[in-house]
Amino acid sequence: MRFVRKLHRWLSLVILIQVLIWLVSGLYFGWVGHQSLAAHDYFQSIPATPVGSVFYPENALIERFDNVKSVEVRSISDTAQYLVLTIDGSRHYVNAQTGERWQTSAPLAAKLARQSYNGPGSVKEVQAVTGSDEIIDWNKPGYRVIFTDEIDTRVYIDAASGEVVDHRNNNWWLSDWMFRLHFMDYSGERDFNSLLNIIAATIALWFSLSGLILLGRSLKHRQLF
């Protein structure tokens, strides 16, 4: 028992701060909830609309790209768009009217951003960007559409596809850091299988189990008063 108590005490020195971090960040997650954690306070998915008319034939696409797995046609703000998936995993976006590579203009980006937004603000500014520090796995050309609301909602639009990449707002950095601290992945990639986290989880497991044993002993010896 002396050994268990010693183990509990020394492990606490190593892991105590991280346990507090886990508790505080966990409390934060529970407090703000899924939607705000994802910066989706004013997010809505854009409703799918009928495709409309298509001019450029699919056969041409199958010849144009190698190893086509599938060709989808859908509507991006009233214009039909082809999405070509190939075996190697790459995605090609083509204007289904002209057959040209899809392009997203700044006004179209603003329109798409508005469709994905259900907050009280309106579009304040549209900036052309290439990737963003706020979005970890997106580094392509696109737009940042800024709205006039109390949390400065920013909607990122990918230029090559016309897709909404994601929403961000002023509360984002805090949520982001809470995730980094909770997962012990300071790169921001939300990887909780990192070696550091595995080591910390192992220590925390021994820490709590040794505490459980000590509690059992206290109960057995009626040492609660």
Partner: protein
Amino acid sequence: MKLRQWRIWHRWLSLLFGLQLVVWSISGAYMVFFDLSFIHGDHLVKKLEQPIAENTLISPVSWVLEQHPQATSVRLMRQWIDGSLHTVYRVESQTGTQLLSAESLEPVKLDRMDIGYIARQHYSGNEETKAQVSYIEDRAPGELNPALLPVWRVDFNDLAGATLYFSATTGELVTKRHNFWRLFDFFWMLHIMDYQDRVDIETWWLKAFSIANILFVITGMALLYFHFRPRRRSRRAA
């Protein structure tokens, strides 16, 4: 407070709230130890590569759109029907999804045999493994998102308890499950303390236990201080 009092507080809080800390550390450790892609069951299925041949006979997509003016998405893709690969159109609208033969634009219905064959193509385990195919129309099991219904459920009789779910209308693989995922889901429930639906992270249980355990940890810090504080006994003795 004196050392003895802190110790009593520490014991009481550990009894009332600290047990959840044990639950958190066990469930957290399980989730951290197993790689997420393994939990997702990515290893249960093969990567299928079936490009559409350049000379494939297909009706143009504009005909599909004339036939189905309400379609919000039309996708040309490959699917196994009657045991061989066919090129099909997957037509999606507000009312649902269906498959059409890409050549004739006639609707394609997949039956139990088709799903059994498609499942074999996807499954990466032993080819001899026995499997059971069942149709689920309205009652989704807890491990399946009800929005995906109706589906075919294919249970493989392997060690991992692998289950693959396929869309009843298109035969596409929609969900993979195995026992490690099921245990992960159970631990996730314990971790977020939503014992009902396993999705709500905003339960009052979670917030109350987080706050109580922060206090509990503070009593532990006090005990550490008492143990490691600089002693002044020598001075007094002098």
